[in-house]
């Protein structure tokens, strides 16, 4: 009990001369939490959208001639050599004709006198709907067109490809801003705490003469780092939440919403970001106290 009240007494005493740097640090930590979690939020939403896209995504390879039953296994193997796929469907001319009829609906009478033979043979490939296959879709299609008998490959639109690139770019940004978060929280916190410690240097020396234990000296300092992390992460995540609400309210046009049903960071991710910044800030404070603990 008296240990806890002592720690808080020390904290108040310390923050009396160091509050400007503490506020700066708090601000920096929460800003980097905000930046990181903001990009992470975009990333997660994009990922969701992409898997939704991925479900509808298929590549159609048009062939010169039908692949005979006996060779189909081999043909499939060639495709899966490149990447995992969910499903491969061989489409005969008759099936293609049927589909076309269905698609035309009421206008299907234009096909009435036609023979299915004007349609090409084709193979439909459904890539496994993960991010990787989306970003590699261009390579995949280049590969497919090089298969023997392939005439042309058709898939989604250009923008699917660009979307894939965008997601990989986003992934890099997430990693970079994560690194930024680590650097700022560890360095800013250890810097602030070093300032606090330096202003207390004389006191720390006397404390050692008086037999203060490591725990006594370390306690308030770790709590200071911990609190900086706590408040920094809280305000960072809260600002993200309000930013998210604002974006949602201002950009919820129907077209946009169909593709991106915006959702906030899942609780597990928020909690992880929270815990990690606590950990980083506490260890930042430990880094700077180490040299003061010599007996």
């Amino acid at each position: 009990m008296s240990y806890i009240s002592f720690i808080f007494g020390q904290l108040v005493r310390n923050s009396r001369h160091g509050w400007t740097s503490q506020v700066m640090t708090l601000f920096t930590v929460s800003l980097s939490v905000l930046i990181f979690s903001f990009f992470f939020l975009i990333y997660i939403n994009m990922q969701k959208a992409s898997s939704r896209l991925g479900n509808e995504l298929r590549l159609i390879v048009y062939l010169e001639q039908e692949v005979p039953e006996a060779f189909r296994q081999e043909f499939k193997k060639k495709i899966t050599d490149f990447d995992k796929v969910d499903k491969i469907v061989f489409i005969s001319r008759e099936e293609a004709f049927e589909r076309l009829t269905k698609q035309l609906g009421r206008d299907s009478d234009v096909l009435e006198d036609l023979d299915p033979s004007f349609l090409p043979y084709s193979v439909e490939i459904f890539p496994s709907s993960n991010l990787k296959s989306l970003t590699r879709i261009k390579d995949f299609s280049d590969y497919l067109v090089s298969l023997p008998g392939a005439v042309k490959v058709q898939y989604g639109q250009d923008w699917i490809e660009r979307f894939g690139y965008f997601i990989s770019l986003l992934r890099i940004i997430v990693i970079l801003s994560g690194a930024l978060l680590i650097l700022t929280s560890v360095f800013m916190v250890s810097y602030t705490i070093r300032l606090t410690l330096e202003s207390r240097q004389e006191e720390l020396e006397i404390l050692r003469f008086l037999g203060a234990t490591d725990r006594y000296i370390r306690g308030p300092v770790i709590v200071e780092g911990f609190l900086l992390g706590l408040f920094g992460a809280c305000s960072g995540l809260l600002s993200l939440f309000f930013l998210f609400q604002w974006i949602k309210n201002h950009f919820s046009g129907p077209a946009f919403m169909n593709l991106f049903e915006l959702s906030f960071l899942p609780l597990a991710n928020s909690a992880t970001i929270f815990l990690i910044s606590l950990l980083l800030c506490s260890s930042g404070s430990l880094i700077s106290i180490r040299k003061y603990l010599k007996v």
């Binding site: 404390l207 050692r208 003469f209 037999g211 203060a212 234990t213 490591d214």
Partner: protein, 237 residues
């Protein structure tokens, strides 16, 4: 000439065995010193300036390490103590430094309280003890004055109060009356005597003949880093 000064009491608290301390480059501050101090003893350590008194006290609380020799506290070699045990040991030794080592910006109260805070004493106990000490030392009216604003004599008494705050089993006082007038000297010596009567072991390094002449405690003289003689000042015998 003897350099082996045994304690008259059997169970010794401090054993110093053939301790030599040299400061760089080659200043011999202590030369082959051996002595013991028993539990509950009061010992005066005298010697001219530069004789090595402060050095000896610093060795006892491990602020300096001996160049050679062995120092035992309660029969334990203090050079073998872990960092944590050393910290604990210091909590049980009250030291009044010759140069006071107070925090000039903090008040008399805060300076004394610090010694008790490191032992996690409750604020209530701390307050009670500090008030008691300040009353004993005639400093009650200075309780909230920053120590930097005090006279040397007042600072000296604050540093003694801090050394006594925890009622430690061992007190090392380095020139505790160096800056004091006879009245203040009497206050300090009364406090130390009372603590000694309650069982505290006390070592006092001093030039001040007035405080040991009339006492019957052991007197140890240092000369050029050597223990030169024991003068028994014993009025009862």
């Amino acid at each position: 000439m003897t350099s082996d000064i045994a304690s008259p009491i059997d169970t010794s608290l401090i054993d110093i065995v053939k301790v030599t301390k040299t400061y760089p480059p080659d200043i011999m501050a202590l030369d082959d010193v051996s002595m013991s101090v028993g539990h509950g003893e009061m010992v005066f350590l005298t010697g001219v300036s530069g004789a090595g008194k402060t050095t000896l006290l610093k060795l006892l609380c491990f602020l300096e390490r001996p160049t050679m020799g062995l120092i035992e506290m309660n029969k334990k070699d203090i050079s073998k103590l872990s960092g944590h045990d050393l910290q604990k040991m210091r909590q049980h030794i009250g030291v009044a430094y010759q140069d006071f080592r107070l925090l000039p910006k903090q008040t008399v109260y805060q300076n004394i309280a610090l010694a008790m805070e490191v032992r996690y004493e409750t604020p209530k106990d701390i307050k009670q003890r500090v008030l008691e000490l300040l009353a004993n030392l005639g400093l009650a009216d200075k309780i909230h004055t920053p120590t930097g604003k005090l006279s040397r004599g007042e600072q000296q008494r604050v540093s003694i109060a801090r050394a006594c705050a925890n009622k430690p089993p061992l007190i090392l006082a380095d020139e505790p009356t160096g800056n004091l007038d006879p009245a203040a000297t009497a206050l300090v010596m009364n406090l130390l005597k009372r603590l000694n009567e309650d069982g505290t072991t006390i070592i006092i390094a001093t030039h001040d003949q007035s405080i040991y002449q009339k006492s019957d405690h052991r007197l140890i003289n240092l000369e050029n880093g050597k223990l030169q003689e024991i003068i028994k000042v014993n009025f009862d015998l």
